[in-house]
């Protein structure tokens, strides 16, 4: 080793030693230590000393100093990585590189249970085709303009992704060139959710939206699985022999004969995005709640299967129930967290009352007589306002009189102290997701957060509790009482149904999806997702779960105090894969980091599960993006004009196609100077992906814009969030049409 090398090593060793005294392990401290070492050694005239020390002794001394410095570095490495923002760098750089490497395709997730739209960025004017998986069809992409292509993929029509789960090779043919990109495939398993008992309680029905099935279960545990249309969302018995099935992607409501006569279903064309069903007390009217661009209630005459009325709604209804008669219908809408009561006045349905709850109805059930509804909410303020407590969740079941519409009673199921640092009584009764009324009038409630079922009888002080988690029925959603008082409980996360008979020693569990053991052996990726789904619904020791605000991985569309005394709207956690880093400010580089929130802020979980962060990340990564109503059928010419406006306004600088995000973080005060006084000076905003943006109202980080047009006009007064000031009204409308097509 030459003298020059020894001198250099001495400088490094001294610098590392000095660095170990630095108040913060950081790049700047390292550089300052290095310069200080140079100055110190220069001042000491150490060059002469280095020359005089015997080489062997010098090397030993050097090794000691370097070793000590190295140990200091190793000890401080974690803090160094965190301070310099280098944690999860591979993920965030990887996601960004996927967007930059042309041809690029987004979103990154391919799910096997529904049609999806993908965007490809390639050379303008080329012919672009995409093949999902080795056995998929080569699908022709349609150019929107400027090298942006759109490809529609329907797994049922074009072939399911292969492999079904995990990394999926995707071939993109541009002109004569072929490129391969890797997306993430997920094939969901059966998910039976809410249960509807037949009038005679001999059996119950549930649908599995993921596997397009209607599932019928008898009180004795006999199961029948019937294939139905695309994306069944709800089912109920219209009589003992027929079940109505609503669909997400199929324009027809199906009425299925479940007697096993072999008769095909009766189809009633009412349009896609059917969400929820309700049957009138007489059984003559069927109400269907529809979402999409024009949410509405569709009233059907059961006997003729004809549409009797359509009632426009301000937002998609999450839950429906008839009141005491056929002329009263109550719809729970999430967007305004309100119960709306409609009344049929001679064939015309009018809204006669509205009851704001402050938080949306998580689930809703009708009492036998229809005079009352049972509504689960995560909090309730009589004035309908949001609770200002930090991340405040207090699960309760409201008893609502239907005439007049008012809250008559509230039953707290998980008592939470106002300050989350202090324990409440939250190890039970968290996240009620299923409610039903038993024959004897008792209330049956399934709690997804604490894996239990309560039977609440007004005559007894304490509810009767059943730990359904003991039977492997984690995160229960649906509950129904069948003949003989047998309880049927659904667990979508595990794809199973459990029958709890009064006199049986043990519950009978029916598996609609492979068991954990089978998945471990043959599909560990699906098992990881399943465990993550359980974790998503499981309550922390603070009585709050992910589900509490992110209803079924979506948003409760409420604003919450997230700890800095500002009310911020809940974000959907769908379509997040490939968009690292996460959260509004991009402070979490990996999905698995989100588990940190639960552990550090909410006192951890009751159940100690190893690898929770990874399984939760696997579940969230496999959630498809929110659906928007406009798609390939939109006005292409207008969308193309909108894309040109998008480019002219400078939007791609931060919302780069095909992901429509550059995955960068921007100073909030710089983007919105007009809001600078209300914002922390150094607050960063993560540029969100604009895919599915139409489904994401309200807009901007604090939800201050109700519409996309408002984002471009009244909330961009300083013209820094895109050059929108010089756009005409028509150009803005074109731009909005383009954004809605994403």
């Amino acid at each position: 080793m030459g003298v020059r090398a020894i001198r250099q090593l001495v400088v490094i060793a001294v610098a590392l030693s000095l660095w170990s005294f630095a108040p913060r392990p950081a790049f700047w401290a390292l550089c300052v230590a290095y310069v200080a070492a140079v100055l110190l050694l220069s001042a000491l005239d150490a060059g002469r000393f280095i020359g005089r020390v015997p080489r062997a002794a010098g090397l030993v001394l050097l090794a000691i100093v370097l070793g000590a410095g190295g140990l200091g570095v190793a000890r401080a490495w974690g803090a160094f990585v965190e301070y310099e923002g280098l944690g999860g760098l591979a993920e965030r750089v990887g996601d960004r590189v996927r967007v930059e490497m042309l041809p690029a395709i987004a979103p990154r997730l391919v799910v096997a249970d529904r049609p999806q739209t993908f965007f490809v960025q390639a050379q303008a004017g080329e012919e672009v085709s995409v093949r999902f998986g080795a056995r998929g069809k080569l699908l022709r992409a349609r150019e929107v303009g400027g090298g942006l292509f759109r490809v529609e993929y329907d797994p049922k029509r074009d072939g399911a992704p292969s492999p079904a789960d995990g990394p999926l090779p995707v071939e993109i043919a541009c002109g004569g060139r072929r490129s391969e990109r890797t997306l993430l495939a997920a094939t969901p398993l059966a998910h039976p959710r809410w249960l509807a008992a037949s009038p005679d309680r001999a059996r119950a029905a549930a649908v599995s939206e993921e596997t397009d099935e209607l599932v019928l279960v008898s009180a004795r545990g006999e199961v029948r699985r019937v294939g139905v249309g695309d994306g069944p969302t709800d089912a109920l018995f219209v009589d003992a022999a027929h079940v109505a099935v609503a669909h997400r992607d199929e324009p027809a409501l199906w009425i299925v004969d479940v007697r096993g006569t072999g008769a095909g279903p009766r189809r009633v064309e009412i349009g896609t995005r059917q969400a929820r069903l309700a049957l009138s007390p007489s059984g003559q009217r069927l109400a269907v709640g529809r979402g999409g661009r024009a949410p509405e209630l569709v009233l059907l005459d059961v006997a003729s299967a004809g549409v009797a009325a359509r009632v426009a709604l301000p937002a998609a209804p999450d839950w429906l129930a008839f009141g005491a008669d056929d002329a009263t219908l109550i719809a729970a809408t999430r967007a305004d967290a309100t119960l709306h009561e409609f009344r049929d006045a001679g064939g015309t349905w009018r809204e006669i009352a509205a009851l704001p709850l402050g938080r949306p109805a998580v689930t809703l059930a009708r009492a036998h007589d229809g005079a009352r509804l049972f509504v689960a909410v995560t909090d309730y303020e009589p004035d309908g306002r949001a609770h200002l407590g930090n991340h405040f969740i207090q699960d309760q079941i409201l008893t609502v009189d239907t005439s007049p519409l008012r809250v008559a009673h509230s039953l707290l199921t998980a008592r939470r102290s106002p300050r989350q640092s202090k324990p409440g009584d939250v190890d039970r009764g968290a996240s009620p997701l299923g409610i039903a009324q038993a024959q004897d009038g008792a209330l049956l409630v399934a709690f997804a957060g604490t894996d239990e079922v309560w039977r609440i009888d007004a005559s007894t002080a304490e509810p009767e509790m059943i730990d359904v988690g003991d039977a492997g029925l984690y995160a229960p959603h649906g509950i129904a009482e069948l003949a003989g008082g047998t309880l049927l409980v659904s667990s979508p996360a595990t794809g199973s149904l459990g029958l709890f008979a009064r006199d049986a020693a043990a519950p009978r569990v029916v598996h609609l999806a492979p068991s954990d053991g089978a998945l471990l052996a043959h599909n560990p990726t699906a098992l990881e997702r399943r465990l993550g789904e359980r974790d998503f619904y499981e309550a922390t020791r603070a009585g709050i779960s992910c589900q509490s605000c992110h209803l079924h991985a979506d948003s409760d569309e409420r604003a919450h105090n997230l700890g800095d005394h500002r009310l911020l709207p809940t974000l959907s956690v769908r379509g997040m894969t490939g968009t690292a880093p996460y959260l509004r400010d991009g402070s979490y580089p990996r999905l698995s980091d989100l588990d940190h929130v639960a552990r550090m802020l909410y006192r951890g979980y009751l159940r100690k599960t190893p690898g929770r962060a990874e399984t939760m990340a696997a579940f969230v990564a496999a959630l498809p993006r929110r659906e928007t109503s406009s798609g390939a059928s939109g006005d292409l010419a207008r969308v193309q004009r909108g894309l040109r406006v998008f480019e002219r306004a400078g939007c791609p600088s931060c919302h780069a196609p095909p992901l429509f995000s550059g995955l960068g973080q921007h100073l909030a005060a710089g983007l919105f100077p007009e809001r600078a006084a209300q914002l922390p000076r150094d607050e960063l905003l993560d540029a969100p992906s604009l895919l599915s943006v139409a489904a994401g109202a309200p807009y901007l980080s604090d939800g201050r814009a109700r519409t996309l047009d408002a984002v471009l006009s009244q909330h961009n007064r300083d013209n820094r969030h895109g050059d929108t000031a010089r756009l005409s009204r028509d150009e803005r409308a074109d731009l909005v049409a383009f954004l809605e097509s994403l």
């Binding site: 003298v3 020059r4 001198r7 250099q8 400088v11 950081a26 790049f27 700047w28 550089c31 290095y34 310069v35 140079v38 100055l39 050694l41 220069s42 001042a43 005239d45 150490a46 060059g47 002469r48 000393f49 280095i50 020359g51 005089r52 301070y83 310099e84 923002g85 280098l86 760098l89 965030r92 750089v93 960004r96 590189v97 930059e100 490497m101 400078g650 600088s653 931060c654 550059g662 960068g664 973080q665 921007h666 100073l667 005060a669 710089g670 100077p673 000076r681 150094d682 960063l684 540029a687 013209n719 820094r720 050059d723």
Partner: protein, 227 residues
Amino acid sequence: VNDARHDALDAGALNAAAGAAKGTRRRAALVATAFAALSLFAVGAWASGNPWIPARDLAYERGTGWAALVALFASLLVTPLARLSARAGRTPGFVLQLPMRRALGMTAAWLALSHAFAALKGTLDWNWTALWSWPHLRSGALALGVLLILLVTSFGAVVARLRLRFWRELHRLAYAVPLLVLSHVLLSPFAPRIVALSSVGAVYALGLLRYLPSERRGADANAKQPM
């Protein structure tokens, strides 16, 4: 003897740059200045083509940043390429000599300063605290700080006044700057990651060429060859 020799070498290297043939120095300064001027002109032309002020600000920021990066990387590649050239039996031209490296390094510092000014005036809106709050701004500011230190200590008079006996070791900090730049770019909102990763990777990979054994040996060679 060794230490005296190495102190002499440090001074020798610096003096080699300062005292090289006047023509070489002048040409190096001219090339580096022309590069800086052309870069700034190109950035100005690019920016003026956009009437939207934030886009103009961004053009200045990005343009000056990339120009600084090019100057820095060119400066770091002078020695390895000189070694390669020497191995190939060619006499390195003035662009692969010490004065050029020095001039490019100084240009990089000036362009980085322009970049910082453009960012502060533009997207940061003179928000000085942000420089310290966010990792990518911190590493960018630190890279600039290191370049300025190297700029100041690139003059023989300053080195003599400071009695910097470890001048050579101090200037090896230049090899840490691409890492800081990489951190700055990878965490920043706009810069293309692929370009950043590949260019920094190429600089370090080509930098290994400097360890090619030299054709010429001896103290004389050490004093005359670029480091």
